[in-house]
Symmetry: D2
Subunit: 511 residues, 4 copies
Amino acid sequence: MGEPYGGIVLATKSSPTVISDSPITDPGSGGKDAKSSGALKKSSRYRSRSLSASSTDSYSSGSSSDEEDVSPRDKEQKNSNGFSDFCVRNINQHAFGRREIEIAEQEMPGIMALRKRAAEDKPLKSAKIVGCTHINAQTAVLIETLAELGAQVRWAACNIYSTQNEVGAALAEAGFPIFSWRGETEEDFWWCIDKCVNAENWQPNMILDDGGDATHLMLKKYPALFKVIKGIVEESVTGVHRLYQLSKAGKLSVPAMNVNDSVTKTKFDNLYSCRESIIDSLKRSTDIMFGGKQVVVCGYGEVGKGCCQALKGLGCVVYITEIDPICALQACMDGFRVVKLNEVIRNVDIVITATGNKNVVTREHMDKMKNGCIVCNMGHSNTEIDVNSLRTPDLTWEKVRSQVDHVIWPDGKRIVLLAEGRLVNLSCSSLPSFVVSITASTQALALIELFNAPQGRYKSDVYLLPKKMDEYVASLHLPTFDAHLTELTDEQAKYMGLNKAGPFKPNYYRY
Amino acid sequence: MGEPYGGIVLATKSSPTVISDSPITDPGSGGKDAKSSGALKKSSRYRSRSLSASSTDSYSSGSSSDEEDVSPRDKEQKNSNGFSDFCVRNINQHAFGRREIEIAEQEMPGIMALRKRAAEDKPLKSAKIVGCTHINAQTAVLIETLAELGAQVRWAACNIYSTQNEVGAALAEAGFPIFSWRGETEEDFWWCIDKCVNAENWQPNMILDDGGDATHLMLKKYPALFKVIKGIVEESVTGVHRLYQLSKAGKLSVPAMNVNDSVTKTKFDNLYSCRESIIDSLKRSTDIMFGGKQVVVCGYGEVGKGCCQALKGLGCVVYITEIDPICALQACMDGFRVVKLNEVIRNVDIVITATGNKNVVTREHMDKMKNGCIVCNMGHSNTEIDVNSLRTPDLTWEKVRSQVDHVIWPDGKRIVLLAEGRLVNLSCSSLPSFVVSITASTQALALIELFNAPQGRYKSDVYLLPKKMDEYVASLHLPTFDAHLTELTDEQAKYMGLNKAGPFKPNYYRY
Amino acid sequence: MGEPYGGIVLATKSSPTVISDSPITDPGSGGKDAKSSGALKKSSRYRSRSLSASSTDSYSSGSSSDEEDVSPRDKEQKNSNGFSDFCVRNINQHAFGRREIEIAEQEMPGIMALRKRAAEDKPLKSAKIVGCTHINAQTAVLIETLAELGAQVRWAACNIYSTQNEVGAALAEAGFPIFSWRGETEEDFWWCIDKCVNAENWQPNMILDDGGDATHLMLKKYPALFKVIKGIVEESVTGVHRLYQLSKAGKLSVPAMNVNDSVTKTKFDNLYSCRESIIDSLKRSTDIMFGGKQVVVCGYGEVGKGCCQALKGLGCVVYITEIDPICALQACMDGFRVVKLNEVIRNVDIVITATGNKNVVTREHMDKMKNGCIVCNMGHSNTEIDVNSLRTPDLTWEKVRSQVDHVIWPDGKRIVLLAEGRLVNLSCSSLPSFVVSITASTQALALIELFNAPQGRYKSDVYLLPKKMDEYVASLHLPTFDAHLTELTDEQAKYMGLNKAGPFKPNYYRY
Amino acid sequence: MGEPYGGIVLATKSSPTVISDSPITDPGSGGKDAKSSGALKKSSRYRSRSLSASSTDSYSSGSSSDEEDVSPRDKEQKNSNGFSDFCVRNINQHAFGRREIEIAEQEMPGIMALRKRAAEDKPLKSAKIVGCTHINAQTAVLIETLAELGAQVRWAACNIYSTQNEVGAALAEAGFPIFSWRGETEEDFWWCIDKCVNAENWQPNMILDDGGDATHLMLKKYPALFKVIKGIVEESVTGVHRLYQLSKAGKLSVPAMNVNDSVTKTKFDNLYSCRESIIDSLKRSTDIMFGGKQVVVCGYGEVGKGCCQALKGLGCVVYITEIDPICALQACMDGFRVVKLNEVIRNVDIVITATGNKNVVTREHMDKMKNGCIVCNMGHSNTEIDVNSLRTPDLTWEKVRSQVDHVIWPDGKRIVLLAEGRLVNLSCSSLPSFVVSITASTQALALIELFNAPQGRYKSDVYLLPKKMDEYVASLHLPTFDAHLTELTDEQAKYMGLNKAGPFKPNYYRY
């Protein structure tokens, strides 16, 4: 953008009127395509690239033996500096975890650029952040960036299965109070969050949440502490939904920022990410050849659009089902036939759900599918395919690979069910670090904005990320593509009625 | 959608809370990609398919001789029923105009479906509409639809050049008070509008405007009449901008609806329409072969996206310039290099502007272009290419076809300038009737909504079309594509928190 | 290629063994996709870009009045140098024709590059060429190139309608013996060819033919002259077919080169050219919007592939019919449904034939089409659509534009028939000069090869253009795209067993 | 095709003149894109979908322990019927192998259809086939099909590493004389082939070879047996090359069929297969996000075209290098910039070789690459990337996953080298069974043709598969896609000069 990071901070500090995003009081459907790590809570694992092993088995490798150990809560551990304010699986794994973090850094250009640009400003100086997210190499890059920007942090996991133990060890070794390991019990889970919120000589003033658990615990257990919080940043559909409910109920006493619906994050989480992961998931799990296959995609939102674009590009014949006439018309104009599922269900080779709805694919549909039909879900939750309807005595399940079940009809017909109807891209492929970089940059900027906002800019409500910051996240990622932005001349800015530093679009602009 | 038109009317009549579109108080930039007939006022002609002649010369044909005639205002004309409350070029041309209208009807499925579905309801019964738009076969379909829905209308042209005289004649023959001909003087122009507004025994209560001239005249000249208007529907960027200014200045005493920014209309006016017209315009004017050509598209909004998709599909190498980092990142993810114009200007074969800004292509750029480079504008107005900078003594202009100029440098280098920098798709191709059908349906539904809205639903402000109606416009056009919508089950609607009849998305949904 | 033109000539002169293309003794089907100007003989016009007028009416413009004149054969004309060995419509039109030629030169980079590179070598010195082709600006560029390379020429038209009179005048003014005008009688046609073959003090030694008429006339009428011919170059399907028949019958006493099936020419005439012209033809004739339209393309050869790629790119739903299982499998892998015509005929919006076969679309099919269905032919001849079956008393024909007929069924159903079933791209769009440049370069190189080949390299048979020359034609056109070839290192050439200058592929390579 | 398999057999038996494919006497480069299992001999493993484990580790699973065992040659094994004429790793693994074969059968529709259609005819009755190919589930389907068609077979592996031991066991259990296991020594390798060639009471009359080793052994060691062979079918580039050399040297005393260059097989092995496997290989090994990445593909043959189409579809910016001007011009027309490698090497994110040449990517190039650049090979052999040049003391190699090395420069720059420069799609993804079905069908038909051909149809030379059989292979695979061929009417066949059953194209047709 040709503009220093400092410009952003300055702008947000000094010109409150620039920020015109009004609070969203209608939680609405949260975007039927929305997808967040909250959605997979306890039901699936957040996969990311790992140095340690092939991408398909990063979680089954390495640390299997130590998981049989005594609970980390019963072990005393110190890092090499004698620091012991943490609880991880095994501090000795730190070197390996550090290597993973270093690799992630190379693939997260946006958050690293932010770290560099804002290192002197220390815009998070005096911030005391309770973090509760998945803990993996990419999160570590975020955590260490927040620290570079001046913040103090305490961090727990938002999921009992998703922690990369080696990364936890590396963070502890670097002196971060991390409370998290893979395979926590439910009780461990809340204990860890509690250790972050309620520490001696440490009063948090910011929350970075993924699913709303830290927020929830603080609100319930430490209402006094909660009141002095300056802001909450939440990135999951579930967490955002809980915030809107709190707000409606009049119980939200601090400003919160919904980063789940920022433009840049949404496009990457849905359209761009799914365009690649649908291909990757199906290949890794079934080795199917795409050319000439007939596919029906249920739902033509961002996720559906991404899937269709990739499948069409590889020579599939794609059909769409839709409930929304505008999205249906888009599908038509993009060259897809819009049908009811029953019209094509007997002929298709692959069925993909991307609606955010429930029971989109029913037992009745599956009874009609042809032998070998693949069924998978790219949508918001695990309700789209009525998997329970397949658990009847007349059908036989046969697990052929780790995320692949054959469900066999009495006549021998098999359908191939992926990930038992959970999000196939999270189960059967990995999430590129670049996508996580977008999310992490969005989270960091939301923290900066809320922490530095002058009194009165934000009320106790739920806000979208200001468009200018949304644009800034995008600009942080352009150098990766060697993309060169054009700057408005003074004359052009005046003609358009725009500030040369943005924002460049009205809030209702659809991109 | 499986729901009768009546359902829509009923819903809008009885359930005000359904309609949640808040007034837009920030006119913003109106969307940099926005394109409306208002934009071409007096500077270009609105082209549409015509039976009378090949598509490239529909306006140069036919009626050339009668334009030398006496002014229509000085002629006495009657239609075959003796009706004379109109003023057109030549009533005798009506048969030919009627044929044009019949052809347009076949290509405007949405508005024709609306006509059929609502014919019994007569939702515009008692509406008295002053219309001021381009007058051509497609408009005639709209006018006759409004009449079928119960409205009385009086109609003038919004542009002194764009009237299809034969269509005017056909409407007059059918008994509509039409005041319009091609080649009006400025004075004629206002006289015609005045004849619509100020008629004996006729007090208008609705305005359908394209550019804001009818609104403006009424407000200035007949303030008393203006006060009893129930609503204004405006479809042009210019007209919408004027409405927002009125609103800001506190002078807007009636509700107005900005149909320019409805989802369906915007997608068709920009993305889908330009995807085809950029190809068509360049082919018709230059016969260029696209394969392997290097093209730079300035601006990656809806118009730019449409252009790029088509050009890439035909084998061009496409570069993008952008000021907005979010749009720039979209371009990257879509596989385009984002550059500054100077980086590629010496190498490209075609330069296309689609920014809505001014002086995007300067004389300095054109000095660097290679011999034979084609320069054209797909953006909002005629300011994007600094054409004036080419009118210097050292350069020679040579008109090689009607919309094609060669501008010749002293060293013999030629650049090929299309439509003198005006909108090339309006100048060098024709607008499909299907796109006009979307717009016309949107206008008709906006009139119905404003006319039937219960007291208090709309204040004296500028509103977007309710999403439900936006969806309805889309649904009217699905049968053309034999597209079959899926309906939500009760259980699914409950799960999603949606009404089965829509709207299906929150207002901030980006499509 | 980094190699001078001279290298080619040298190579072909000195190393006969390099040329390994064996004669094709089985004329086969000539390629069902083949398309040549010979195919349109007397039934359609060869359109090209013209300065004089919009691209859609280049032939109806300008010279209409002089066509009523006395026959050119009855006029005495001299050019400004007093030269009179020509017969054209009107020598005074030469300035306009020269301008057309100059514009064509700019758009024919390959043939112009050849002219420049070979100007010193004069590889056609002593060649005396009888030419019989369409006569237009692009042909003029070829003719003048042949002259620059040392040849003497005499030229007639291969079609009584296709001559651009102004261009004929310009060539005559430049001193070329041209015998051709638009609107010749059959008798004029043969008289003109005769004037080229049988001139005083001039014994031709090469023939450049398009359709085989010059060859035929010489063989029949001047068998003695025919025997001293060194070679024939033929570019049309029809002409090539006649040559193979002569060869089979043992009547071909000279070597002939079939340039119709050279790789580069074929790809441009069929795949690349049709990819653009199908869009252009449909737009110019019907203004149809492509997005969401259902189209069936009959035949998935090169022409069909080109059509489908473009239509898919613009959002059409495309179906294929095929008789050949290999092409059908290609269609599947490219993402198209392969159907029998009857399966989709009731639903499609557009029917395109590209088979080279006859009666692919029958009256029975057309009886089933829906109202408004567009029917057109991109294939080899005008037999694909059974147009005659539509000339029955129950159907009404209505011409709505120059190449557009509505055929109306008793129930009011209309189908839109383009160009009466002739080649729609030749009738309704224009052929890019770039494509003609490929053909012209191929023809010139074939003449050079046959003229310079050492005794014995070619026997009295029909040959394909040597691959090395085919590659050279391609290389002549690369600079237009700023494309940079890589050269083999000595080590790599040895490893591959290739000559660094090519040819680079075995003869059976499929590209 | 609407024609029974019997038709094919009948035709080939009774009408020798239908088969017009002349022997190819110029081995040429064998197609630079050609890829065969012969190419990976001893250097990589042939991956296929496996029930036993996730696709990425099918070979590391299961049978690791038994490989440490005593040599199979030292074990006595019998199947459940007491049959012992085989030598496999462990006969007890047969049940698992049988399951793998059953799964493969479902995914190989063409060969299974052939099995069914020809089962009654027994066209291979009396054939005694020595087979020498990779031994995996797909090969087993071929072997059992040959047996169903009447043949007796004896089979060995063409690669010491590629045998799926469980499949070998299943075949042995079914009574096939199989001599093959994973991890043979060189001496084992020849011993196994010998056991197939030289068996008691068994004189082979056909060879099915993959790499030429069975042919070579028989020719050298059993010249008398070799003389009575009726035909050889060879599918690898290497084996075909050896056959052409034998032919040139006058040592080939039997007809051989080169199935490597049949149209259908070539398209699937190269274009269609690589279009998918380039994406799959890069994803599985690096988890890279494709959107916006800059990629250079060296070579625009079938493999390169496939790669580029997929990469472009996922939003990459793709550059091409080429030595052949025709392929370069194709790249231009497909919308790719053609450059020399040095022009882009500093900027690209991914380098892919697909030339069949050597040292296309040199150390000098790799010195210039940017940090993180991925380098991989999709071409014919492992020579394209000069990997040896990277084994210098100044560079550090770090294996990060099984097929992924980081090569680290002194300044810390890393490049990511996949599969050490071997074929990345064979190393890092799996070959779809559908592609193998095409190959297997081609092999079976070639055996049928050679075995049944009347005396004199084939001489002691190397032939391409007759086009009619090539078409038949394609037709066997159409039902998978629910594709419906159109049949020529008698009138159409006559007009085209074609037999209604094919072949449909001249031999030089390029598809």
